[in-house]
Amino acid sequence: MNTLFDLLLAPFAVLSPIWGLTLISALAGVVLVLLYGRVSNQRKLREVKRAIGAALYESILFRRDLGVSLRAQARMLKGAGHYFVLALPPLAILLVPCILLLAQLQVRYGVRPLTPSESTVVAVKLTDSQPLKGLALQTDGSIEATAPVRIPSLHESIWRITPHSTGTFNISIPAVEITQPIEVGQEVVRLRPLTSRSFWDTLLYPSDLTLPPLIESIEVAYPERSYAPFGVTMHWVIMFFLISLASGLVAAKVFHIEV
């Protein structure tokens, strides 16, 4: 999955993060709407929408006749419920690629690599507190690390690392046989902020690292990317949502897809 997204998103990596995210969001909106058109019952959706429209028209036309107006409104409500039921399965199907895409975007556009001299923390959680005392972080000369803070009650050890130059560097913890790459620079690359045994963490933070038996998780606290389109600071997910929504609505109009 990581390799697939690496290939799909590679063309956008040459752009600045804000433009890359904008283009991906716009394309995602179009693709998701097209997909929705394929997996939904468009004929039934159209019928229900027409019925809702007719009921709305009826309720306006006969607004002086309370009985007719109320019945029309009841049909509108029923139609809306029907529409919801029809839309739910395709939306549930779309949720799968959506989550996968968002997770992949999170490790590329949600967080950014470190810059030289910028510190962050690396935290390792073990399945057992026994080996904690012997944990040591090894780095090459490009990254400086503090002594660890080991917390037996949490089975956890944490270091502060500070890179001195740009590039991809490996830090390793020989006692538990793990090596973690650290990205330093300006490029949009796939980061590995969290590798965990937890299903949800694995889903939301795709990583290709293999955890040795003693390790529960390893985390690098990469900084969040900040986006300020038109001077308005916003979380990247909000930006993705707004752009994909706009492009999706346009695509629906162009391709005559009921959404």
Binding site: S119, V121, A123, K133, T146, A147, P148, V149, R150, I151, P152, S153, L154, I158, W159, R160, A221
Partner: protein, 662 residues
């Protein structure tokens, strides 16, 4: 009435004072045409640069740029300073081009004659006057106020009128920032988030007996399984009945074997080694759940990890990324700076001198912090120099002033508080900071080009402070101030133990004495017609005071405000200003009107060098790459000189001269 979220947040802080300050117009007035081509003028304000130290260090070869600057045609002269030679007063004269009577700042501390309440002289705040009370919360309906107390036109008022760009970084007595088109960040006088000059927090499992809590919130904590749960106390929540203190909890983990610790606070994890300061950590205090909060920034310092935990937390600085108070103009300027060079100290007195005085920080700890302050300053300096092309660029350094106050004693083995065991780094700290000023000048000269006028100015010099004079107690002893209890028999504060019906004069602030005047003071007893005779009598007696330890006179001059000040803002001036001889100054107790039992004693506090004495002993310095053509330049000459240099008219309120003309 609709109240915006921003209004809520601002109204809640510092007693609702920050709310609804009027939005400033950032764009230059369209009615002002650009009729003057501005010259390039750079002013490096090096607070507390002492002429004798400058010459000494130039001779020692540690300030080669200054030396070359002078050898290349630059001028160096002593710069006469204000009475009193205190930074807010002197820099206000720099800003206004006039004596204190023209700007209304006479001391760090002023008093309200109607209530005798002392307050910080450069700004005043007042909370919201109308509230809506809902279920234990007080919703402000009218915003609070925060006012700059420095009066009169400024140097940059004229620059703005003539569309000359200006950047003014951290000049004292400029909070809240009120300029229109000048880019400015406030300096000395800017409070921390608690509203004072800076209150740090200190967490320890050690015994804290003997440690003064003045200027610090000292918390004894329990370390259980190498874990500590604690809270940083924030500002009072003026949205709530009773205005309880807000707080932010944090968890600290200590490595069982190494001198390292981890702090978890508001989703952030900080790893520190012993002896290390953290980066700035943003924190936020909730005022109204899910609706209003106020944010600031702190640095943690792992003073000691084992065997006892000692964690220092800086005063909560206003966050330059999202300032809760008007520390800059335009409103986005501090954020823009912080994004470019990182967050920086916004507190007016950045290095925590109180923490060193209280024994929370050692000389070495303090020096680490002082170096961080300077590093941040230099980053901003370089950033601004890179984009300075025309107009005025003023940049302020607090380092010489703060670090001479605290560490000059360790440079001089003759000082009674010289510590022979101090580290070489501490002993050479003053040299280090002078050297850094030299490097700052070097970078400045390299970047501004030869067409710029470069001025280096300090507001006063420095001297040792080894003996302290309890002026308030002396006034009691001489019968001018009458107490309800015998002298020294109470720890009572300021004026609750003063018998105003029999008090003719009282002291407040660092140099001031006030006559208890009928019609001005709340319980005045001295007729205005009798005031002059009383002032002359007090002055004559003070001049005659000698130090019983060595027979030396303590005071060289007592200045009558009516003779040394002129201008429209005389109302708050002390009636007399006491000019001490070198080595002497008023005691800390005397500044806020406490009454110790003795009149004079040894200075035992680490704040053991000072400048709040007779200004004739502590002139500042003025260096210029243009010839200074008058013989006795003064700090109030600077604004008129800069304006004239730029071909601009000098406002009538500026009484200073042009130093570049005969």
């Amino acid at each position: 009435m609709a109240i915006s979220r921003r209004t809520f947040i601002k109204a809640a802080s510092l007693g609702s004072v920050a709310a609804s300050l009027p939005k400033r117009s950032w764009a230059s007035s369209s009615t002002v045409s650009r009729t003057h081509r501005s010259a390039k003028v750079v002013v490096l304000g090096m607070d507390g640069m002492e002429p004798s130290l400058l010459r000494r260090f130039m001779n020692e070869g540690i300030m080669p740029t200054f030396k070359r600057f002078l050898e290349g045609g630059g001028s160096l002269q002593n710069l006469a300073t204000t009475m009193p030679p205190q930074s807010p007063v002197a820099w206000s004269s720099f800003i206004s081009g006039t004596n204190p009577g023209g700007h209304g700042i006479y001391d760090f501390i002023h008093r309200d004659p109607a209530t005798f309440t002392p307050y910080l002289s450069t700004s005043r705040s007042s909370g919201s006057s109308k509230h809506l009370e809902i279920g234990g919360y007080k919703i402000p309906l009218v915003a609070g106020k925060m006012d700059l107390m420095r009066q009169g036109p400024t140097l940059w008022t004229t620059l703005e009128e003539h569309d000359v760009p200006a950047t003014v970084f951290q000049i004292p007595a400029n909070f809240p920032v009120t300029s229109a088109s000048t880019r400015a960040v406030s300096g000395m006088g800017t409070p921390d988030l608690l509203g004072g000059y800076g209150i740090c927090s200190y967490f320890t499992d050690d015994y804290v007996t003997g440690m003064k809590s003045d200027g610090a919130k000292i918390r004894r904590v329990r370390v259980i399984d190498h874990k500590v749960e604690a809270k940083i106390t924030g500002p009072r929540n003026t949205f709530k009945d009773g205005e309880p203190e807000t707080d932010v909890p944090f968890t600290l983990y200590r490595d069982p074997w190494e001198p390292t610790l981890r702090i978890d606070i508001l989703g952030q994890r900080i790893v520190l080694r012993e002896g290390e300061f953290s980066d700035w950590v943003p924190i936020s205090f909730e005022l109204l759940p899910y609706f209003a909060s106020i944010g600031g920034v702190v640095r943690f310092y792992a003073k000691q990890v084992h065997p006892r935990l000692k964690l220092y937390v800086t005063p909560i600085n206003i966050d330059p990324m999202d300032p809760a108070f008007p520390i800059c103009s335009p409103p986005e300027y501090s954020r823009e700076l912080a994004e470019a060079v990182g967050r920086f100290y916004t507190q007016g007195l950045p290095a925590d001198t109180k923490a060193l005085q209280n024994g929370i920080l050692s000389d070495d700890d303090y020096l680490r912090q002082a170096k961080i302050v300077l590093e941040e300053n230099l980053r901003v300096l370089h950033h601004e120099l890179d984009r300075f092309h025309e107009g005025l660029f003023y940049f302020y350094f607090s380092s010489l002033d703060q670090n001479c106050h605290m560490l000059y004693r360790n440079m001089d083995p003759a000082h009674p508080l010289y510590d022979p065991k101090a580290s070489e780094e501490v002993k050479n700290a003053v040299r280090y900071f002078y050297r850094q000023m030299d490097l700052a000048l070097k970078d400045t000269l390299a970047k501004v080009g030869s067409d710029a006028t470069v001025l280096i100015a300090s507001d006063h010099g420095f001297g040792h402070f080894t003996r302290e004079f309890h002026l308030s107690s002396w006034l009691v002893q001489e019968g001018y101030t009458k107490l309800k209890v015998p002298l020294g028999e109470t720890e009572g504060d300021v004026y609750n133990i003063v018998d105003w019906s029999k008090t003719r004069a009282y002291a407040l602030g660092i140099n001031g004495i006030y006559v208890n005047m009928i019609g001005r003071e709340k319980n005045g007893i001295v007729a205005p017609t009798d005031a002059q005779a009383l002032k002359d009598e007090i002055a004559a007696k003070l001049i005659a005071v000698t130090d019983p330890q060595n027979g030396n006179a303590i005071i060289s001059n007592v200045y009558d405000s009516l003779r040394i000040y002129s201008g429209p803002f005389m109302a708050l001036a002390p009636d007399l200003q006491v000019g001490y001889r070198p080595n002497y100054r008023v005691s800390d107790e005397g500044i806020l009107g406490k009454f110790p039992a003795t009149i004079i004693g040894d200075r035992t506090n680490k704040w053991a060098s000072d400048h709040c004495i007779d200004p004739i002993f502590v002139p500042g310095v003025l260096l210029s790459n243009r010839e200074i053509r008058i013989q006795d330049p003064a700090i109030w000459d600077m604004a008129p000189s800069i304006l004239t240099l730029m071909g601009l008219p000098t406002p009538r309120s500026m009484t200073g001269r042009n130093i570049f003309a005969v």
